[in-house]
Amino acid sequence: MVNHEQRTECWSWHKHLKRKDPFCAEISDFQRTAPMTELSAHLPQFQHGQLTENFPDNHLSNTNDNSERRRHDNSERRRNDNAESETNGQPQNNMQQVVEQDEEDEELTLKYGAKHVIMLFVPVTLCMVVVVATIKSVSFYTRKDGQLIYTPFTEETETVGQRALNSILNAAIMISVIIVMTILLVVLYKYRCYKVIHGWLIISSLLLLFFFSFIYLGEVFKTYNVAMDYITVALMIWNFGVVGMICIHWKGPLRLQQAYLIMISALMALVFIKYLPEWTAWLILAVISVYDLVAVLCPKGPLRMLVETAQERNETLFPALIYSSTMIWLVNMAEEDPEAQRKTSKNSTYDKQAPANQTQNEGAEADDGGFSQEWQQQRDNRIGPIESTPESRAAVQALPSNSQTSEDPEERGVKLGLGDFIFYSVLVGKASATASGDWNTTLACFVAILIGLCLTLLLLAIFKKALPALPISITFGLVFYFATDNLVQPFMDQLAFHQFYI
């Protein structure tokens, strides 16, 4: 009997851990305001929307939650107890079965843990590929067409010192804008101005999905010299945008939602690559990772406060600004939606063994998923760890904190904020746009970022709390960018010239 209780997909490198540890971040999702707010200079108020939208972006969390782990531990303990009680009077094979099942579970758990890393590698890679492909082919995004108003100082100066000073000032202005926006967001959230926040989010995703993709499409057509009429373009953009809004803010197939999130991250990253001058961009990347670290881990950090507030209130944060690797079926506390509560056994597209009985609404409840852990934790704190059986679910539904977890253990996944996608892509895009080493530098930055992400996920498994996903990856990326561009490139050049191989 394989108990398909909700297994936490976790793995940990700790040798002394006897049971599988959840590869889970504790809960908090939105760790910091994603810096990718800055859009174009022309729409300052937009920036607000962007910031909010980006707010939840830079974070990394695992949807497996404590309650699951507790539940799992409970069941494991029960199983172990059974085994012990059985050794007295029952044949060994019973124990063997239990042990085997546990082994199976262990192995499966481990595979799931590594699986989650891959579930994040793939979208990050895709986003970077889109950005690099665009940078390499569409010259619009490497052409200098002015700067954002948030980086008012120009970098076309006579002396190097002046340029350095200007870029430092630019970065400082940008970071302070981001900090102000984050604090504004926290304040808005604390004082329950949800309408304002939601309005922001809607406006910013509208802008991204319609306006920026229109520009992108136009530039691609120009690059490939494709003749196109406005009516067709209007139809295409309209469809693209509306479906995007629906997928991101409401419900949609998981893959489509993920694709849209990747696309808007790529669009934002392209805007940044275009409008940020060189030294400013690198400085901003460096400072943003420090800010990320501080905002998420410090007790008084804005993101941490936001998460804690949300936890206290038992609610989700903003919808769909987090990339989720699986669908989470969680009902918002305010909505006692019976059909939503039946949304279980959504197919984890990654696991073919998941039950094939889909319910009709494959809603992208990723927004709820943001706080599933909190809810779970709260619920478990109140009513104790329980198994997710139909009876328990019914019992839970009757409770005030109405949260319901998915039945399928494989559905638990990892989440990564869109801000992380954007900044990774900015780094790799800038590397491909401006490096003398060109493809070598791009490749080196790409590998460095992936390794940073892997390390971050490993730390996530060890510390089991929400972690900033930017610092390690961006540090590696920056180190490798400068090292490859200045040290490795001349070496490889000389080797290629003489056709030596190392």
Binding site: W11, S12, W13, H14, K15, H16, L17, K20, V99, E100, D102, E103, E106, E107, L110, K111, A114, K115, V117, I118, F121, G437, D438, W439, N440, L443, A444, V447, A448, L450, I451, C454, F480, A483, T484, N486, L487, V488, P490, F491, M492, Q494, L495, A496, H498, Q499, F500, Y501, I502
Partner: protein
């Protein structure tokens, strides 16, 4: 040039490696992670070796051609040694990882064995090495131009592609050999790998006399392949059975 050369060279250089990746590595997430980490380790070794070379070059006279070439040769040798050192470091890391995986699983069995890790690590090293050697060339091959217009060899792209392919394979086999040597404490296997690597890199010093570099490299690759096959549990018997599609234990067909 352009597309024909681009696709041809890409598939020559990376086709087998892509096949290896798709059929043996892509399915298992753990292997993909080990692959990327292997690529990362190779990259770090390259970084350090180019740092040393860069310092040496900056400290020397840029006008002196033979000195520069000498420094480059020194750089290549040093890089090879550093790559093998990082392979050893990676072996140490994977050993620790296996201990962790074993501790996690309750039956004391890790989901991936050190031999599989050795293979994947080798492919990781090889892919990264090949990518760094080949990618800029491929990007140039896409554009217009004439190869060897100034009197250099016209086979530049083709031989680069073949050299890259053999290096990727060699790294794979060296990974297996090296890890096996480390596991069983056979230092002569490790030195053999290092010597082979030095030999292959050294043979490229005769480029553009390609027969001096490609032929020995392919011979060394065949040797390393056979050795790695034997170390991984293969034998002439196994090979024969596989080629003749016999099931183990079945008697051979009369026709064979």
């Amino acid at each position: 040039m352009t597309l024909a050369v681009f696709f041809g060279c890409t598939f020559i250089a990376f086709g087998p490696a892509l096949g290896l990746f798709l059929f043996t590595i892509a399915r298992d997430p753990l292997r993909i992670i080990i692959l990327i980490a292997g690529a990362f380790f190779w990259l770090v070794s390259l970084l350090l070796s180019s740092l040393i070379w860069f310092i040496a070059v900056k400290a020397s006279n840029p006008q002196d051609e033979s000195l520069q070439k000498g420094l480059l040769i020194f750089g290549v040798m040093f890089s090879v040694l550093l790559q093998e050192a990082f392979r050893f470091l990676y072996y140490k890391l994977l050993r620790k990882a296996i201990e962790g995986l074993v501790a996690l699983s309750e039956d004391g069995c890790s989901p991936i064995s050190i031999q599989q890790m050795a293979y994947v690590a080798g492919v990781g090293f090889g892919l990264m090495s090949g990518a760094f050697s080949m990618i800029n060339l491929l990007a140039d091959a896409l554009g217009p131009g004439t190869v060897g217009i100034h009197g250099d060899s016209q086979l530049y792209f083709l031989t680069s592609a073949f050299m890259t392919m053999v290096l990727i394979f060699l790294h794979t086999f060296w990974g297996i050999l090296f890890f096996h040597g480390c596991e069983h404490r056979r230092w002569w296997e490790i030195t053999a790998v290092v010597v082979m690597h030095l030999a292959v890199s050294g043979s490229t010093f005769c480029n553009p006399l390609y027969v001096g570099s490609l032929v020995p490299s392919y011979l060394l690759m065949a040797t390393a392949a056979a050795w790695a096959y034997l170390l991984s549990g293969g034998s002439a018997q196994n090979l024969r059975r596989f080629l003749l599609c016999l099931r183990s234990g079945a008697s051979p067909q009369p026709a064979s």
